[in-house]
């Protein structure tokens, strides 16, 4: 049995490049040779022991690659095809999937729903930071890359773009909306781009790192508010002339940003939350109009599946958005430990790293 290199979670604070057997391909699977992948903020949570996964697991959920081998029951693809798969890999056949809630796919569970059930790569099964990746339910998940797009052009599709855009989509941004996006990391930047793509006419980014403030404008922000230069809520209220925003997108996962997002909503507005929280949240009575403000709080887990990937890649292919500026650093898989070190410490202005094999 041939072996391959993979970034393996050994124990908190240790993800190392090790050797693993190349996976066997079951009837519904596909084996993908990874050509490019990346590291996500969630992977850093895993590294730090803040999000529990089993020891020995290969990390990573953002694959770009080439089909190496198809399961016996997989139709509609051919070996050698360039593909991506979403970070979330719905089966398509669970009750959750069949009612449109693909990210909460609990195929195999008693009721067909499971919180975060669709997130398998680098969470419940081996992930993408390796030479090969086994993609389960391949027919639901493999999305061919359109001709002419490079790996780096589509590298943000599996998670960053899908999650970021979903902040605007779940917020139901409409033409003419005012939208605030709290935090302009990779996901917040894609939320900004998503809000612009959906027709928001005033987009306010919240950020303090100058390089991120700059890229925020390039991704679509009309204004960028620096939270170190004064109260964010006051600044946004001033920018909106006291009206507040139609949609506030939370893209960090902290009480301050969640609360700020709630406080800047106009009556009837929507807080669209993308953050992964690590502690209880507080909803201040006033910010919530005592429950009488016709407000919504909506959370979204990264939408996956091949149709989602097809749509996101069409955004890139049609030049509506270029996410390559988010890739600030490049490493070979051999040096992935170094990449983790850089990314986990957010050194050198890193936004996203590209890991190639």
């Amino acid at each position: 049995m041939a072996s391959m290199r993979a970034a393996i979670f050994i124990e908190p604070n240790r993800i190392v490049l090790g050797e693993k057997p190349i996976p066997e391909v079951g009837p519904l699977d596909a084996l993908v040779k990874i050509t490019t992948t990346t590291i996500c903020g969630t992977d850093v949570h895993i590294l730090k022991g803040e999000y529990p996964v089993e020891r020995g697991l290969t990390i990573g959920h953002e694959p770009v690659g080439v089909i190496e081998k198809l399961g016996s029951a997989v139709e509609g693809y051919s070996e050698g095809q360039r593909v991506i798969a979403g970070a979330i890999t719905p089966s398509g056949h669970s009750n959750a999937c069949l009612c449109g809630c693909h990210s909460q796919d609990g195929a195999g569970t008693r009721h067909g729903f499971k919180p975060m059930g669709g997130w398998r790569f680098g969470n419940t099964i081996d992930g993408a930071q390796a030479e090969y990746l086994l993609v389960p339910d391949a027919m639901a998940n493999l999305a061919p890359i359109p001709d002419g797009l490079t790996d780096e052009q589509v590298l943000m599709c599996p998670d960053i773009m899908s999650t970021g855009f979903s902040g605007a989509e779940s917020g139901a941004v409409r033409i003419g909306d005012t939208v605030a996006v709290f935090a302009q990391g990779p996901i917040g930047l894609c939320a900004t781009a998503g809000a612009k793509l959906m027709g928001a006419t005033t987009i306010i980014g919240v950020e303090s790192v100058p390089a991120r403030m700059e890229i925020s404008r390039r991704m679509g922000a009309d204004h960028v508010v620096d939270f170190t230069k004064g109260d964010v809520v006051e600044q946004i209220m001033a920018l909106t002339d006291g009206r507040g925003v139609d949609v506030a997108i939370e893209a960090l996962g902290r009480q301050e940003t969640f609360e700020g997002a709630l406080r800047v909503l106009r009556p009837g507005g929507t807080l669209s939350s993308l953050g992964v929280y690590s502690s209880d949240l507080k909803i201040p009575l006033g910010a919530f109009s005592a429950g009488l403000g016709d407000n919504k709080i909506v959370t979204t887990l990264c939408p996956g599946g091949k149709e989602r990937m097809r749509r996101l890649m069409s955004v890139i292919a049609s030049s509506r958005l270029d996410t390559r500026p988010l890739v600030t650093h490049r490493f070979k898989l051999d040096r992935i430990e170094e990449a983790y070190d850089l990314f986990a410490h957010q050194r050198d202005g890193v936004l996203k790293v590209a890991i190639t094999t």
Copy 2:
């Protein structure tokens, strides 16, 4: 200038029946002679000084009556017509109204949105617990009572039914849904009825007062869970075979019920909140799946306006629902202070009182 009797907020813990001039009728107003009204839990908050209104204000927002006089610009009605008006009286012309957010009507404000702006009766203008009520923006708010319906049959429409139903509507209850309703007071009971009307097939009421548990079943609950007899979340999870509910409706306004509602949601489920909260809320991390559960939290303020009232009265007229069992006590306006005393202390199994003139 003729005078009338009215229930007036004097100071915390004192609402008294006093004399006031019968209001002047402006061009867009209508003067309605009240025939029946009622007292709301919110009025008790006002009485206790927990919700601030100006001293001297007439309380009450649930009017049933007869048109006494129409403003000079009001068309489409005739004096002597029996009508109701919703608790919330949208102008129809604010930016909030024009984008469908009628309860947050901020007509006259700079931006056209105002939290709870559509709630005027007994809040920012004189209310319905009086012999006469001035209805602003009459053309948007007066709804003729269908022939053959008594005052008591439509008495729950202005607030209780409208709010209760909106719990199911904002939760987007679908055929085949499982719905839990936390607290079976008048609004929770109407939420139960609303969930049934929209096709929920498993409805679980949460209550501990035996009389309310009994009426809950009559209003549509398939199961009623007594929170004094064991952990509510566990009981609901057992009833749903571990699956959780599609929609949980909060109808009390407390941390326990809000949190319980969150904890029983299936992944992807919606918490529809109707309660008027009086302190900050906590969202426990686990109950919120760390923000990754594709959950929604939706708050709704009682929908008003004549079209809403027309629809609710059609529910009564078509015998889809009879809300008369909610009226447990009857008083003449003369004895409204006694009614407040009974209602505020929730004595004698009171659900709602009818106040007639």
Copy 3:
């Protein structure tokens, strides 16, 4: 290789009970022993040669039965379980499924969408009027029957209830709506029941057969209009006091009913079409307000998949609706040709027949 009896399409006007081999079970399939099935109006179209299928095909798409054998890759079920499957059997993994359009599943096609692609039983693969049925994509399609429900209680779920209800669902019926349902055959009757389940408060059935008019009232109609007793549009306009209906459901598939449904819509109303048409349709200019009436015309193909079936069976299990009155005649599979004869000629007041093995 064992053989079984099956109702086979030989040529136009000939469906005969013949012998076929019991199907082989592929990895994703399940073999279901049919205990009860029925004949659909669509099967009569096939019989008459009006809808083309391949000669030699087993007809029928409404299976109730017991799992005989599971494919090697099928998890979550056990042999001997009582199950139904929807008339439409989505794969779950096509692009159509992944964007929520399960009935147009074109798995295996180039683009993942195919008109009516999800309808396979008795259309593109062997159907349910046989001793055994091979269910493809079993994990997406097998729905266990809740304990205590008989075959006849769930027999309408695979098609009749699913299609009928979808008329109300696609019409987005709301509490307080006025709904007209054109034709009260089995599907129209279920559309009536669906409109009631979703909160319509005035439901008008259109029918002329007295027995169907009677059952229409039992299924939820407040009024039944006899189109042989005067102009339907005038009658409905009179019943609605000139207002028109919010939603008109077409459940026959003819120009007259389509046009009548369009003509009774209020401005802004929705025509929800369920009929299978057999010729071009005309949209009269006036009925369409020259395109300026903010109207919608929505068509729906029977929703399938196990989650849909689970929900529909919960309607039965919770006693929200009893569809047994639709089953007017019963036959053994041996006598299915006789059943076709009765049903095709609509003799003896037949609504639906139950075919048992």
Copy 4:
């Protein structure tokens, strides 16, 4: 009583510039001094006698101007303010408005709904091609022009942009959609721009006039199909690789374009119709998948009201779209008859004319 000049419909084929009294201002009205207006295709229908209006009516429904006088009950505005009003002027208080169907406002009618009821300017009351315009229900309809925008920059908002955008909005265009827009006149061009603003990634314009094909690309089309150079349906199917489009927008009002739009839809796709038709329409059986394609046909009348206008002007103010290229010719009101002549005969590549006073 002072008089003013106005473009008056005398009889079919005669709209002349005449004299009329400046209107009296009722309590809810505002008198607006028109600074710029334009001529719509609908006005040409009126001119030709194809759309009936009363003789003596002032034509025009696209006003840009300055508040001259406010009605006694109008609050929130000041004289001298620069404003626009939508072509459709909802009252805000009808049943239609209160359920979100503002364009079908039947205020004053028995049921509150009326087909095209919200279209009053130049249809049921005097219109905008005059020195002064009386705006009814001023508080619902006057939208202040943001500082820095010229008349010509906002001249398309009252009708052309509002209608065109609504084609994409009613079609519920989503990120990644493929959209075809049939006809690239002013409304079709704005539909193209609207589809782009909402995130469509493949936009196909259908047109044959070279200048319009060119501007179509500037407004957002990725491809422009010339229907004189081959079958439109085939061309679009080729461009979409056989898949069809998610949304097809009809922007002409003819059988050919309606039918073409239907034929290029993917299963489950939506035809969003903006055209004003002048004869019955035919739905070909095959194009409609016999009613089984899960397709929608949606019609939309130009959305109006001040909130709509505010949002559209924010699109201009934020530089998301510049509609000035649509204004190809300019005339003084004095020469409006000449403008009609040019526009009605579509001479000299005219798209829209600006009429100034």
